[in-house]
């Protein structure tokens, strides 16, 4: 079965420092991987995706993610964190079941950027 794991419940980083939010996946076949962000009292927002091609994917708000097939990882990164990046981040994988696709989400990682 397709799944993703986010090993850290929370990541703390100082503003201006680089940040990494970890995600590992387990899929059969080629993975379709995604990152979503959830700000307080807001819906989830799509950040970026990996379908195929370059292992470094760029997304919204200056975020990027690195796909590593040998380590089955898809870590979210940003060179310089902002306080406004504080939010809940979800990694997701596309799963094909029966006759349709769905997204399977990880448990989420709370990012706290301190001033």
């Amino acid at each position: 079965a397709q799944s993703v794991a986010q090993p850290e419940d929370q990541v703390n980083v100082a503003e201006g420092n680089p940040l990494t939010v970890k995600c590992t996946y387990s899929v059969s076949g080629n993975p379709y991987l995604f990152w979503y962000v959830q700000y307080p009292n807001r819906g989830l927002q799509f950040l970026l995706k990996y379908i195929t091609g370059d292992n470094l994917v760029k997304g919204s708000y200056g975020f990027e993610a690195e796909f590593n097939k040998s380590q089955t990882s898809f870590h979210l990164k940003k060179p310089s964190a902002l306080v406004s990046d504080s939010a809940l981040y979800f990694c997701a994988v596309r799963s094909y079941l029966g006759s349709s696709y769905k997204l399977i989400f990880g448990s989420g990682t709370r990012l706290l950027v301190r001033p």
């Binding site: 419940d9 379709y32 995604f34 979503y36 009292n41 807001r42 819906g43 989830l44 927002q45 799509f46 995706k49 379908i51 979800f90 997701a92 596309r94 079941l97 029966g98 006759s99 349709s100 696709y101 769905k102 997204l103 399977i104 989400f105 990880g106 448990s107 989420g108």
Partner: protein, 117 residues
């Protein structure tokens, strides 16, 4: 452009009472999803619609949950009767034709938070 609209944002009910949540997707989005998000967990798909047809409802507990999407636009998710374990956030999402879970770009509403006492 208006986003996905959900109501109510918050609902508190006694167990065994019924409750309904409403979702209005982004105009032109023919795919609609209902997800359940328990505290501290990621969203889990309950049901997916393509227009008015439910194409994936395998995770919907059909003994107490029901959903409909009349005319292929708005959708309603109902729980009857509600149980304590149903306390969670119910998320609605939509996507454009040809995308969505195929390419991962779903647009989510702000969710409806249910508390069952």
């Amino acid at each position: 452009e208006a986003g996905v609209v959900q109501s109510p944002r918050y609902k508190i009910i006694e167990k065994k009472q019924p409750v309904a949540f409403w979702c209005n997707p982004i105009s032109g989005h023919n795919t609609l999803y209902w997800y359940l998000q328990n505290l501290g967990q990621g969203p889990e798909l309950l049901i997916r619609y393509e227009n008015e047809e439910a194409v994936d409802d395998s995770q919907l507990p059909k003994d107490r949950f029901s959903a409909e999407r009349l005319k292929g636009v708005d959708s309603t998710l109902k729980i009857q009767p509600a149980e304590l374990g149903d306390s969670a956030v119910y998320l609605c999402a939509s996507s454009v034709p040809g995308q969505g879970a195929g390419t991962g770009e779903l647009f989510f509403g702000e969710g409806s938070r249910l508390t069952v006492l």
